[in-house]
Amino acid sequence: MQNTNPPSGPTPCSCMKMLQLIVDGEATAEEEKFLRDHLAECIPCYEQYQVDQLIKTMIKTTCCGGQVPQTLAEQIRMQIQANGR
C-alpha cells in the first residue's frame, strides 16, 4: 500500500509536541524510550522528527552570524577603563 496523505493533511499525532524532547536532548530515560518506540511505528512523527532535527542542524550551521566588528572588544575595554574601577 502506498502512503498517501489526505488532501487536508494528516491529523497531527499527539506525540508531536513531545518530539522536541529528543531533538533537544531533554527527554528523561522513560520519555526517550516511549518516543523511540513510537517513532518506529508512526510515520508522520518519524518524518516530523527528521525534519525537526535537520532544521536544528541547519540553524546551527547557518545562523551563527557575521564577523564581530573588530573594534568592539577594544571599545568595551576602553569604556570600562574610562568609567573608572
Binding site: M16, E47, T62, P69, I80
Partner: protein, 193 residues
C-alpha cells in the same frame, strides 16, 4: 543573578573574570544582539551595554556558574527594558496576545506535510536565516537560545524568566511557525508537495 549572594572580588579577580569568563562569549553575544535587533549598529550597542553592565554588577556573578547564561540574561533584559522601550514600535503586538493566539490548536493543524527533508536539503542557509528573522522576536529568541547556543531548557527558563513549561510550549510554537515560513519559501521555489 539576583538570588545569588554578593561576592567581593578584588580588582584583579574582576579583571580575570571579565577576560576569561565574559569576553570569550563576545561572538555569541554579538550574534544574539544581531538576531534581536536585526541591525549591526544596534547589536554593537547592545553588546557594549551588556558588557558594561556585566562589569558593573560583577559582584553578583558567582564564580563557577554559567557565565554565558548570565550574560545572555543581561542582554535579554537590556533589550526589553532599554532597547524596546526607546523605540516603541507603534504596531508592536504585545507578546501575551501573540502567545494566546498561537496557543490555539490551529497552529498544530497547520503543519504542512510538504516540508520534507529533501525539500529542506535543497535550501541554502539564507532561507533558514530569513525565516528565523521573520519570526516574532520572542519566538526567534527561544530558537536561538536552544538550537544555536545549545542552552538547556532550564537555563533558558532562567535567562527568560519564564517557567520551563512555557519554554517548551514557546519552542514548539516557534518551530511550527518557522516551518510554516519555510513551507512558504519552498512553495515560492516551486517545490511540489
Amino acid at each position: 543573578m539576583d538570588e545569588s549572594p554578593r561576592q567581593n572580588y578584588t580588582a584583579a579577580e574582576k579583571q580575570a573574570l571579565f577576560d576569561n569568563e565574559f569576553m570569550p562569549h563576545m561572538r555569541s553575544m554579538y550574534n544574539f544582539g544581531y538576531r534581536l535587533t536585526l541591525n549591526s549598529d544596534d547589536a554593537q550597542d547592545l553588546v557594549q551595554d551588556t558588557y558594561l553592565k556585566a562589569y558593573r554588577f560583577i559582584d553578583s556573578f558567582q564564580k563557577g556558574t554559567n557565565a554565558k547564561a548570565w550574560l545572555f540574561r543581561i542582554m535579554k533584559n537590556s533589550f526589553i527594558n532599554d532597547y524596546r522601550k526607546k523605540r516603541k514600535e507603534p504596531n508592536k503586538v504585545d507578546y501575551q496576545e501573540v502567545e494566546a493566539y498561537y496557543n490555539s490548536e490551529d497552529v498544530d493543524r497547520q503543519i504542512t506535510p510538504d516540508l520534507r527533508v529533501d525539500v529542506l536539503q535543497g535550501m541554502l542557509g539564507d532561507e533558514i536565516s530569513n525565516a528565523l528573522n521573520a519570526l516574532d522576536v520572542d519566538f526567534r529568541t527561544v530558537i536561538i537560545l536552544c538550537d544555536l547556543e545549545g542552552f538547556k531548557y532550564e537555563e533558558m527558563a532562567k535567562i527568560l524568566d519564564i517557567p520551563i513549561g512555557t519554554v517548551r510550549s514557546r519552542l514548539h510554537r516557534a518551530r511550527n511557525l518557522l516551518k510554516e515560513k519555510l513551507t512558504e519559501y519552498a512553495r515560492q521555489m516551486g517545490y511540489k508537495s
